[in-house]
Assembly symmetry: C2
Amino acid sequence: MAEKITPRDKDFSQWYQDVVLQARLADYSPVKGCMVIRPNGYSIWEQIHQDLDRRIKATGAKNAYFPLFIPESFLKKEAEHVEGFAPQCAVVTYAGAKDLEEKLVVRPTSETIINSMFAKWIQSYRDLPMMINQWANVVRWEMRTRLFLRTTEFLWQEGHTCHATAEEAEEEARKMLHVYTDFAEEVLAMPVVPGLKSESEKFAGALRTYCIEAMMQDKKALQAGTSHNLSTNFAQAFDTVFLDKDGQQKVVHQTSWGVSTRLIGGMIMTHSDDRGLVLPPRLASTHVAIVPILSNANKRNEVLAAARALAKAIQETSLHSQLPYQVGVLVDEDDTKQPGWKFHEYELIGVPIRIELGPRDLENGQVVMTRRDWARKESVALAGAPQKVVNELAAMQKDLLERARAFRDQNTFEIEDYADFRKRIEEPGGFFVAAWCQSKDCEAKVKEETKATIRCLPIGTDYRPIPAVGRCLACEGSGSLVRAIFARSY
Amino acid sequence: MAEKITPRDKDFSQWYQDVVLQARLADYSPVKGCMVIRPNGYSIWEQIHQDLDRRIKATGAKNAYFPLFIPESFLKKEAEHVEGFAPQCAVVTYAGAKDLEEKLVVRPTSETIINSMFAKWIQSYRDLPMMINQWANVVRWEMRTRLFLRTTEFLWQEGHTCHATAEEAEEEARKMLHVYTDFAEEVLAMPVVPGLKSESEKFAGALRTYCIEAMMQDKKALQAGTSHNLSTNFAQAFDTVFLDKDGQQKVVHQTSWGVSTRLIGGMIMTHSDDRGLVLPPRLASTHVAIVPILSNANKRNEVLAAARALAKAIQETSLHSQLPYQVGVLVDEDDTKQPGWKFHEYELIGVPIRIELGPRDLENGQVVMTRRDWARKESVALAGAPQKVVNELAAMQKDLLERARAFRDQNTFEIEDYADFRKRIEEPGGFFVAAWCQSKDCEAKVKEETKATIRCLPIGTDYRPIPAVGRCLACEGSGSLVRAIFARSY
């Protein structure tokens, strides 16, 4: 038997690490801050990649690939950008057995190198919009790392688009905020709050940053995706210009947007429990584990045959179902492991549905089914089991989202009084919605005194921060108030 | 109109560059030796990835992801390995605003970092075989680069497997040789010679290297994939051991195998012509371009409607066909471009089938169809066009392979006399099959005097080099002779 998982209420951080390591999702590597994504974790990333890639392509963006290395001088062309990223850069100074004339930064993000190509490719308004996406690894040197959530190297997708007008770029940044919101909720079953970052939290080089924020089970926030309106900041630095219909030379307006392997960490901290990983069915590759009970040698062949037939029937039923994926079914025929060991294993690694099938079940024409997020087992007629599986997979995807949303809503509070906030951010914690006067000083004061930051400014139908009444949480001033979500975060 | 492509017979190397740049498959980047893979090229890589990934998973290997960085000390643990790769390494010496205590090499290949994890994960024979594959970028500093064929950074997949016995490792290395052979021929329509590398050409750290070699249209060879039996070389260096059934501690036997974005270059140089890219249908995402002739304003709507209906009919017919992909159809409704411009464009970027549909065609119930590898156009009944498209896509895939195989066979020669060889390697060139005495000196002499190398030793059914009779091409000795293919190469 494997080691025990630390319960969430005892030590949430240790619980998270136990789940990631014991479910063999990722492991620590010998390179400081870099993780190894093991097959169980990588298959989740493959599901994310496949589904999100389809959504990104549906917006008109096309995939491409740009160099891993960025000449140091490129990063320096956009002043805020280099200031934001320089402390986190890994730098190649030596290559091909020689010192390099110009140092190469391992990409922390690719706005600069991609702009150097945009400037070459874009001549006229006919070349616009140009919409590119890249699936790649990036490196940001981190002092304190945590598997999936914050690692020196991570995998992500980064979209980069160029538009003829400021309006089109803004529309694109907003569109991607919706794509990420829908994706997080429909696929990860992770409810998110879309909003705007404050000036001090926005991307280094952006005009404004939209983001989606999720609440983890310890009530801390996780930034799960960002979409930036870059205005002409990078385009000016790289001279990314085009000849417009009116014969004028103009600078393009740009966006960039990305999500990363961090999503896997967010998904784990949203759904999993003290027994291990709970995986939304849309992220699973094995959806059903059938465990035949083979201890009775006389019945062994009969039970095995029934288990295999059931697996086939489930796959066929799923093909004609509304499920947006093909159901993966595994029949565990391993004789060297006990059923109890197998049940534990499938719970640990988060297989959504487990079915037990023994000689007595077979006599009674039934199977024993349990959903990973249930605390109970259910007897189900063998003949109806395939349809039941399909129904429960769809229901589980929905239930996980609803449960997580209810949890978040129960732990989101309107707050006005700062003393009260300081107490409640410690216990019980959560998202605190308060009025904020938009001053950096107030934001910094809250951060320093409570370790809570402004996760986002929720937006109205006009995509602008929502005006608030009353007084600023921090300074009690009453001017330029907007609603802000304060929380501790990953 | 775009620039003109240099004809192959004038300057093959310039022709290749013209095709890659003008078809917008890749571009030079501002980082020395690194390329940008543009959407037209990246979509080919996506097809390769998708198809090969399925084949790799079918062998039982699972995808994972390991760090980009390798501690310098790891590379040094396997003596031949570091000697082979050190001159090509890019090295991070500075990160997070500090000099690193231990330098980090940007992975040129991942045997060492992966072995450090294998050593941790593998305890017992029950953990074997362990079969891992990684899709990743790697960096090898190159002096002379060429888009796709040889670049400082490239994309690839690298498989790494551990086995309990030498026999199983050898079997795995051979199995992957077959997977690559089938993939190259079935998907890239690129015929390959499977064989063994000579000692001096094998992978740095391997016991033996199997490879597939293809002939380009200039009769030079391209190494298109390799599969290495690593024996226990890396496992010993990293102490990757297991407790066997017999209670003994043993070192695992390993393989590694990979193909890269170089395959795209090989595919281009196998099939393309003086008009641009010729793409095997299995690598296309747009298989059919329908160009409606819209110059007659009165007939415009009617022609457009017919073109759209045809597109739909082709897609539906393909769904019920034997084609292993869904046919992508594009209707080019762009009014700002002339049909002649469009024809040129679709030839350049290699859309396999082009259909013209004008008012007169519609009256006659027909369309004009051409296959990218045909020199002619064909009138086809409109009603039969969808089935014709499906048939021609299947035929084109087959014809490209057969044509390339015939070309290779016509340019492969048995040779005995060295003086004759020295003349014919210059003109006409090709693959020269000769006896070789297996001495490094003879191999080096041929290389120095003719720039031809031993591309591979063709293998018999026992996977060993095929014994030859007669005399060594270089030294005229008659001992330990095997058949070897000599050729100039990329």
